[in-house]
Amino acid sequence: MNLSPEQIQRYARHIMLKEIGGPGQQKLLGAKVAMIGAGGLGGPAALYLAAAGVGSIRLIDDDDVSLSNLQRQILFSSEEVGLSKVQCGEKRLTSLNPDCKVSAVNHRFAPENAAECIGDADFILDGSDSFQTRFDVNQFCHENNRTLISGAVGRWTGQVSVFKSGRPKNEDAQDKLPCYRCLTPQLPETEVSCAEIGVIGPLTGIIGARMAMETVKEITNAGQSMAGRLWIYDALSGDSRNIKLPVDPACPCCSSN
């Protein structure tokens, strides 16, 4: 499929990048992405992916917009309080870029409805607000060989990684890449949702945009994948760093033992 004259204009700043170019833009237009959680992280991630020309985005969330969301959830406006997040998101993203086909999935992701929620999406962004959901998403991605782009926030700290569990680190390596449970084997004693511990607004934009960035890289094979690495950002100090993330040989999800 060739790019139309409008598309060449719309994506001109991508097309001039040697790592993207016309072929990369076509990969983006053909990509299928699912977003678990359309909140603080899913919102900015979805806005950037839709703007970038990702062809299909499934927004998965069963929440309605509430007033306490608007301090950080830039996908929504004040008039939308009380309305379904995924329906508002669908409207906003479609008007941002008609190339992007948005599916509003008004469900809470759970193991029972995982296949229905995810559909044929190849790239799964997890910006959910619960460790149990994160474990379930990781399990689904591990079993179904999907690439998981994971972002999380709490208070002033955020983390981003990409998980391609079970796949080799590189072409001739015996070493496998880790999954989310290699980092977080057990459920923490307390849930640490934003509603319980608070979160600084712009942090969700930084982490959500970083999730979109890594998704674009995975789709187009630009640069170095974050698989096997974890990025940690501390907003108070302004410090960030990449840490190597090895496989846990006793991982409850991806270990073969």
């Binding site: 459920l187 923490p188 846990d248």
Partner: protein, 66 residues
């Protein structure tokens, strides 16, 4: 021997494992990850990971919000 824990020097005995060191600190087992010299140490190998002088350790609290 001296380690660097969350950016500050910390004295501990020679030959201590990461598992023993964390017990000394009295940290909870769940909800934390430990980074040693810019690499996460999987929880299952804490007791077989022998610390060395000069190791830089960071205790990372998981965040799970969205």
């Amino acid at each position: 021997m001296q380690l660097i824990l969350n950016g500050s020097p910390k004295e501990t005995e020679e030959g201590v494992t990461l598992g023993q060191f964390l017990k000394e600190l009295g940290l909870p087992e769940k909800g934390l990850a430990v980074e040693r010299n810019l690499e996460i140490v999987p929880k299952s190998v804490y007791d077989s990971t022998q610390l060395e002088a000069g190791d830089r350790l960071e205790v990372i609290q998981f965040v799970g919000g969205g």
